[in-house]
Symmetry: C2
Subunit: 375 residues, 2 copies
């Protein structure tokens, strides 16, 4: 390893890798053109017929089937051009000058100078996903980010290049009591040190703020992550990095309904729409609840299951990502109870019940289930 490589940040390395892969794609196409061929490229098939739960990586993955797009096929010509546009935009307009863009920016950028490249944003979003599949890296790696943001608070010091001074600087994630925004900078930052021994991911902003206020980060020695519903991909990547690089166990604290359980499971096992990517999942993440059993144990305020809730629960029981005993057991309790509760319903006991009673009891329960092999 050269000296230069040693001093490169995590962000620099990812960027270099994505840039090389995009340039290689372009060079390959140019090479074919010089040989007098109609250029083509290959990518994994992203259709549901080629998506499965991979027992080895323990995540939703794409299978072996691949598709080829050729400039010599009139039906492929449009997606071929669109793919080249996105790859070139990512390499030349984003990675090289060090800019980022949102999905929407890219859609609008395609209208500059030349003819309209995409009919609507769903078309450009889809081609961006194709480019991910081709180079096997996430769009965030080539500087395309979603708008969605979530927040983090806890004893973790990260470092990144200061925007103004261009020097590396450190940021302690307890600095702002309202939490730090998880944006492009934080997701790609380097981890300097942490005193925490776990990560707790929280579905709702109200509960996140409650936990900060009650010093749950200190009491449970935890880094707190606000998911804001289904976690944005950048947040899922940061969670995985804390699990892999810092060896911190990850817990997901969500509403007691099948949708909350699925917020957990996308963190753990991924989603069909990102099955072509690695680096986003945390297979060992643990679902804390609220469980339907918690609803009964603590006599929490509930709402009745809708038909949609019931159908979703039936789906999850069959889903390969939900085969662990503790998940199956609780899905069955949902089927019997036919009731759901929000995590904030714990407030009905008292504002501090969640830290005084619920979480301490829950961590003991999880330890026992781990000893019993249910998790």
């Amino acid at each position: 390893m050269s000296k230069e490589t040693k001093t490169k940040t995590h962000a620099d390395k990812v960027k270099d890798k994505a840039f090389k892969k995009l340039v290689a794609l372009g060079k390959d196409v140019y090479g074919q053109l010089e040989e007098g061929k109609y250029p083509d490229f290959e990518m994994p098939l992203r259709a549901s017929s080629n998506i499965f739960y991979d027992l080895k990586t323990r995540q939703y993955s794409v299978g072996e089937k691949r598709v080829r797009r050729s400039a010599g096929n009139v039906r492929h010509l449009k997606p071929f051009l669109q793919t080249m546009f996105v790859a070139s935009f990512a390499a030349r307009d984003l990675l090289q000058p060090g800019r980022t863009s949102t999905l929407r920016d890219l859609y609008y950028s395609s209208e500059s100078a030349m003819a309209k490249m995409f009919n609507d944003q769903s078309e450009s979003d889809n081609v961006i996903t194709d480019v991910e599949a081709i180079i096997g890296m996430a769009r965030e790696d080539f500087n395309i980010f979603p708008d969605a943001r979530s927040t983090i608070f806890g004893d973790l010091v990260v470092s990144f290049q200061d925007k103004k001074t261009k020097q590396k600087r450190e940021l302690n994630l307890t600095f702002n009591p309202d939490g730090q925004t998880i944006g492009p900078t934080l997701v790609k930052s380097d981890f300097v040190k942490t005193g925490a021994d776990k990560v707790i991911c929280v579905e709702s902003g109200g509960m996140f703020q409650r936990l900060i206020e009650e010093d749950a980060d200190e009491q449970f020695n935890a880094i707190l992550v606000h998911l804001a519903g289904q976690a944005p991909r950048g947040t899922r990547r940061l969670i995985r990095r804390m699990n892999q690089e810092l060896k911190l166990p990850v817990y997901a604290f969500v509403d007691a309904d099948p949708w909350g359980m699925h917020i957990y499971n996308v963190i753990a096992s991924g989603s069909a729409s990102a099955a072509h990517l690695t680096g986003l999942t945390t297979p060992d993440a643990i679902w804390m609840g609220l469980t339907p059993t918690d609803i009964t144990t603590y006599d929490l305020p509930t709402d009745n299951f809708t038909k949609g809730d019931l159908n979703r629960t039936v789906q999850l029981i069959r889903d390969p990502r939900y085969q662990k005993p503790y998940l199956q057991e609780e899905l069955k309790v949902f089927m019997q109870l036919k009731k759901k509760a929000e995590q904030q319903s714990l407030t009905s006991k008292s504002l501090t019940f969640v830290v005084d009673e619920y979480l301490p009891a829950k961590f003991k329960e999880i330890e026992k289930m781990q000893r019993d092999g249910k998790i």
Copy 2:
């Protein structure tokens, strides 16, 4: 002014004032009980018949009409009890121990120990608004916050009490390139110093990130605020404080459609649902556009007006908050053009067009309109 008062933070003073008003409300009710009366209290009528555009404060305001709620009237008994519950919860469970709560937390808290106090959250939200109207202070002043968050970035140093050390600490709002979350702490922080000479409020997250990335804060000497659509009340309060305390002019940079214009106007003139409150509006805030004229000038990608867009534009033309010449002129352009565009459509020129061309031209245009008395 005593020494103690001098060293109190902005946050402390607001909290003290709200606490005193809530306690006074309770004492008044107890006093009436001791006199052997059925207790009652008075509040401004919040119905639309009593809401008008106040030319003096230049905001939507409640009028002179007041309502009285008496515990001696069976029809008032339920709201009377609910109001006392919220006032007591705010004073005793939030302000006194220094806790905050979300609207949802308060709803759930009402189910603890005693009987169910509210049928649903809309009922408790409504009573919280009543308490605001009674004491003439916003729910944030008695520590009830919404979930919604927006973000800020720019050369402003604020100070607040550190959560861990309990010492005052300073935070420069350029610290995190992803922006700082505008949560309870930031909204109530003290302003230490700023090198900026204006505030630019931005509707979309994509444009906010673009402006940070292109160093718009330095180029335009501006503090950037991400509104995330309709600005949360805490954000509106912070914008007003920057305008009043730091004497910074405020610009709103929004999508070119009647909904974007209204995001601007709620910042400037307030909304019917908060007409009973002061301290949230910035009457001198300026709408930057995108204007419908910009759409034509820069030949931007557009969408056609829907029937809803058209109806909304007709409403705004008649709205007393839209009577300034430059607003009326552009509303009429909307009626002719019948097209709308997002602020991110500027990206169709280039990623840097907004800072290289659009904003410099816009600031000149605004100066001219100010000289011509159109703003």
